[in-house]
């Protein structure tokens, strides 16, 4: 029977309560370790078409009569459109339609950042549309600009109210601490820069709007577009079979979708609206800059007794203030914690979620601070972390936590310290550093899947989720194949179309596999049960003695062994249909992911060049469905994190608020030449409390600890404390000079003392 419950849902560290109908999920978890298909490496089912250039992305869609769009953006960081005349643009050759402020969601009269969209033109070609922008006659009224987050906070200009958190008595515990370390850490604005820019093609067919879009959430786009247009949700069909990367920036539709939808409505033609790479770098969202003022107090034996932090998110004109304070509250056992987090509203481009938003930044600050504490205590940083191991999350038990096993896996890499340091010479200093990671990633309800077995014994899994490049399509096929007892190549996954499958969650917050996976397993179990019922009647056996293994319907005594396609072949055109739903998360428990990374670096103390030479990662995300894809997620996260740490930085003119790094030669992402040796290990222990899979998500955890681990390795190599990301050569040389001065001071003091 369907049961109605109230449950909690987490996305990217934000919680909400929702009503949920639970269809009981009586499946037992599979035992730990590799099964027949799940837990074994599987190549991606859609890799050949992607590699051969046959996969059709939104960028590749060409519909008959399709128009192309260019968007007029504010040249000012804060301004109002006083007057606008679109007529001269509409008069130009090839121009078929134009929109001004207020005519599509996202086109506003008030521009809150340089690059904010205010008007749009659709024309036969993109070149015509772009040329027409210049003809739009617009008069701006410039408004006051606030670019400095501290300034915004002083004026109480927030994106949301400041968030305060306290447990125990921070002040007193700090006063009683034997050792206190304080530090201010800063992280820069970094950009997603997915290879496929944000874009959508909108096409009205009758009263239904077809939206082809590069998105992480087809259902979210469906609902947002329906709401904006005031039409029922089922009149919007959203399609995204292949998409070229998102990393959090494509969780919602964005102005380009609303513009295309409105222009398509007015022109009665399909309309494509795509951001250029330069627009992508100015207006498509970013990981905001942070300032973190952190304090830790400890006893001389290494017990952390007080943790405090003031976190500022320089959010921008829109976006949300992500949980930079989370790691400080959650990573270590500490009775006395006090944090405050501000979200500064400033005239800069919007924040959008970016792979573990808040925790990437907050972990950099916290894990550097912890290492500085270890240095002051003269304690092994790994030992210090073990000593302050948390056994509950703010009083709540963990559904599972294997961080200690991660530390054990990391030990052999950590033990390379002496050998690595010994490689140092006068110029190149070598060192090893580590950092831990905590994050969400348990997923949650609702998500659904359907299954279909045809009389040739082939299986389709149908679910309106999306595979944004993480390999979830293949993971879903593995889960269905395992449950059903068929080889992987018999299963195909149909996804990416809101009109052709049931609701599935967004691909963000490391939630796709833990959310949709259990629904797929339940749907596979549903058809398996039906097949066994059919076999029992056909062969006059009891259901409980029948199973399906390797595509064969078999009986326990071995007398029955019939290929599945032979059994279901009886049915000719009939099909066996199943359905499954994601159940709730365990109540009263914290579902979290954990990990640790050990990094080896080399620092050229003359030029400030930093090279990451080796990264060893050990993560605990419950059961691993596909070890091959999981390794790629870890490598990809680490490589992106190395970019954040050493080279990526969006630069802005602090006078005008204009973005200076708008191209991929100015905004420097890692290339193949920047990649270190990466070793990747998993605890691979199912979370016994979480769903029938015991799996958590892996998209985000690997990017979380890397920056701090690099900074800590730099300290190990050189004694310098870097406090800012990215660690440019300037920052590295500054930190080296500061370390030199400190060393000289200590020497003077010790001479004086003598």
């Amino acid at each position: 029977m369907a049961r109605l419950i109230r449950t909690e849902k987490e996305v990217e560290g934000r919680f909400e309560e929702l009503w949920l109908v639970v269809e009981e999920d009586p499946l037992q978890q599979w035992p730990a370790g590799p099964q027949s298909v799940v837990g074994r490496p599987a190549v991606r089912q859609d890799a050949p078409e992607r590699a051969r250039g046959e996969a059709r992305y939104t960028a590749d869609i060409q519909l008959p009569g399709m128009l192309h769009t260019a968007v007029l953006r504010s040249p000012h960081a804060h301004a109002r459109v006083k007057r606008i005349d679109l007529a001269p643009a509409l008069a130009l050759p090839g121009v078929r339609g134009a929109l001004g402020p207020g005519e599509a969601q996202g086109l506003d009269e008030e521009a809150g950042f340089a690059g904010a969209p205010v008007a749009a033109v659709a024309a036969d070609t993109f070149a015509q549309a772009r040329a027409a922008l210049a003809a739009i006659d617009v008069e701006w009224e410039q408004l006051e600009v606030v670019l400095d987050p501290d300034d915004a906070i002083a004026r109480k200009q927030f994106t949301s109210d400041p968030v305060e958190y306290a447990r125990g008595g921070f002040e007193q515990a700090l006063a009683e601490a034997d050792v206190v370390v304080e530090g201010t850490y800063r992280t820069a604005v970094v950009l997603h820069n997915s290879m496929e820019t944000h874009q959508a093609v909108c096409d009205w067919v009758g009263d239904t709007l077809n939206v082809y879009i590069s998105t992480q959430y087809i259902w979210g786009v469906r609902d947002a577009v329906a709401e904006a247009l005031g039409i029922p949700g089922d009149k919007v069909r959203v399609v995204c079979e292949f998409m070229g990367g998102g990393f959090g920036a494509k969780n919602d539709p964005g102005e380009y979708t609303f513009i295309a939808a409105e222009l398509a409505k007015r022109t009665r033609r399909p309309v494509h609206c795509a951001l250029t790479r330069r627009e992508e770098n100015t207006a498509a969202g970013n990981r905001n800059a942070t300032i973190q003022k952190l304090t830790v107090g400890a006893r001389s034996d290494g017990t952390i007794v007080a943790l405090g932090g003031e976190f500022t998110n320089a959010v921008g004109w829109s976006g949300w203030s992500a949980g930079t304070d989370g790691p400080m509250q959650m990573l270590y056992a500490c009775d006395n914690v006090r944090t405050i987090r501000y979200g500064a509203k400033i005239n800069t481009p919007p924040m959008k979620a970016f792979r573990a938003p808040g925790f990437v930044e907050g972990t950099f600050g916290l894990e550097c601070l912890i290492d500085e504490l270890a240095a002051k205590l003269d304690m092994d940083p790994l030992e210090l972390r073990r000593k302050n191991y948390a056994s509950a999350n703010d009083g709540k038990p963990y559904s599972s936590k294997n961080l200690m096993q991660c530390y054990e896996l990391a030990q052999k890499h950590w033990d390379r310290r002496d050998e690595v340091r010994a490689r140092s010479d006068d110029t190149w200093k070598h060192g090893v550093g580590m950092a831990s990671q905590i994050w969400y990633g348990g997923g949650g309800p609702p998500s659904y899947a359907w299954t279909r077995v045809t009389s040739d014994g082939r299986v389709s899994v149908i679910t309106a989720m999306q595979d944004i490049g993480t390999g979830t399509r293949t993971a879903m096929a593995q889960i269905a194949a395992e449950e059903l007892g068929v080889p992987l190549d018999r299963v195909e996954v149909v996804l990416g179309d809101s009109a052709r499958g049931p609701y599935a969650t967004l691909s963000a917050g490391s939630s796709t596999t833990p959310s949709v996976g259990p629904a797929v397993r339940a749907a596979a179990a549903d058809v398996k049960r039906q097949i066994i019922e059919i076999a029992a009647q056909r062969h006059d056996l009891e259901e409980r003695v029948i199973d399906i293994k390797d595509g064969m319907v078999v009986s326990a005594d071995g007398n029955l062994s019939q290929p599945l396609e032979e059994l279901v072949g009886l049915l000719e055109d009939a099909q066996i249909l199943g359905k499954g739903a994601r159940g709730p998360n365990p109540t009263g428990m914290s579902v979290l992911t954990f990990g640790v990374q050990v990094v080896e670096v080399a620092v050229d103390v003359e030029t400030g060049e930093v090279r990451v030479e080796r990264v060893a990662a050990a993560h605990d995300v419950g059961r691993i469905i596909n070890p091959l894809g999981a390794r790629s997620q870890v490598e990809g996260g680490i490589i992106q994190g190395i970019g954040h740490t050493l080279s990526e930085q969006r630069l802005m003119d602090m006078e005008t608020g204009r973005i200076l790094t708008t191209s991929l030669d100015a905004y420097r992402m890692p290339t193949i030449a920047d990649v270190p040796e990466i070793v990747c290990e998993f605890v691979d222990e199912p979370d016994e409390h979480l769903t029938s899979l015991g799996s958590k998500g892996l998209g985000e955890p690997p990017i979380i600890p890397i920056s701090a681990a690099i900074a800590n390795a730099i300290r190990d190599a050189t004694g310098a404390d870097v406090h800012e990301l990215p660690i440019t050569r300037e920052e590295m040389l500054r930190a080296l000079r500061e370390a030199d001065e400190k060393a000289r001071e200590r020497q003077r003091e010790s001479i004086g003392a003598r």
Binding site: P48, R50, G53, H192, G244, G245
Partner: protein, 146 residues
């Protein structure tokens, strides 16, 4: 003179191309070779890589009217063993950069069948992959002959 004559993947094409049209745009929009991706359109990422007479070039900053040699796009390399090698090594995440990677890699292994890691890194450094498949690409190129 707005018509261009091109040889693409061994076949000849004639197409209308306004002066100033890039080869990438011509291939994608006029000839339907959408396997060639455009990610930056200004020569900074490698997604649009095609070969002209076996040499990798960035088609987004190549003028269609200037091309004289024989063009090979990803569509002409569909049966190249590198495809299988990329799939087996899990070198394809979102896949948007992948056709460009394969075209660059195919030029590399044609000239240097057993490239060293340094040679791979040198040749492939112009092809950005935001998903970070680089270690897998390196492995795929090392094992391209199976």
């Amino acid at each position: 003179m707005s018509d261009v004559l091109l040889t693409v993947n061994g076949q000849s094409y004639s197409a209308y191309a306004p002066v100033g049209m890039s080869l990438a745009q011509l291939l994608r929009e006029e000839l339907g070779f959408t396997g060639t991706k455009i990610a930056c359109n200004e020569g900074h990422c490698g997604a649009c890589t095609v070969q002209i007479d076996g040499v990798p070039v960035l088609s987004c900053i190549t003028l269609a009217h200037n091309v004289t040699g024989e063009i090979t796009t990803i569509e002409g390399l569909r049966d190249h063993p590198l495809i299988e090698a990329f799939v087996e090594a899990d070198a394809v995440q979102c896949g948007f950069c992948t056709p460009g990677q394969v075209v660059s890699a195919a030029a590399l292994v044609a000239a240097t069948p057993d490239p060293t890691v340094d040679q791979i890194r040198h040749q492939m450094a112009g092809n950005i992959c935001r998903c970070g498949t680089y270690p897998r690409i390196e492995e795929a190129i090392q094992k391209w002959r199976g």
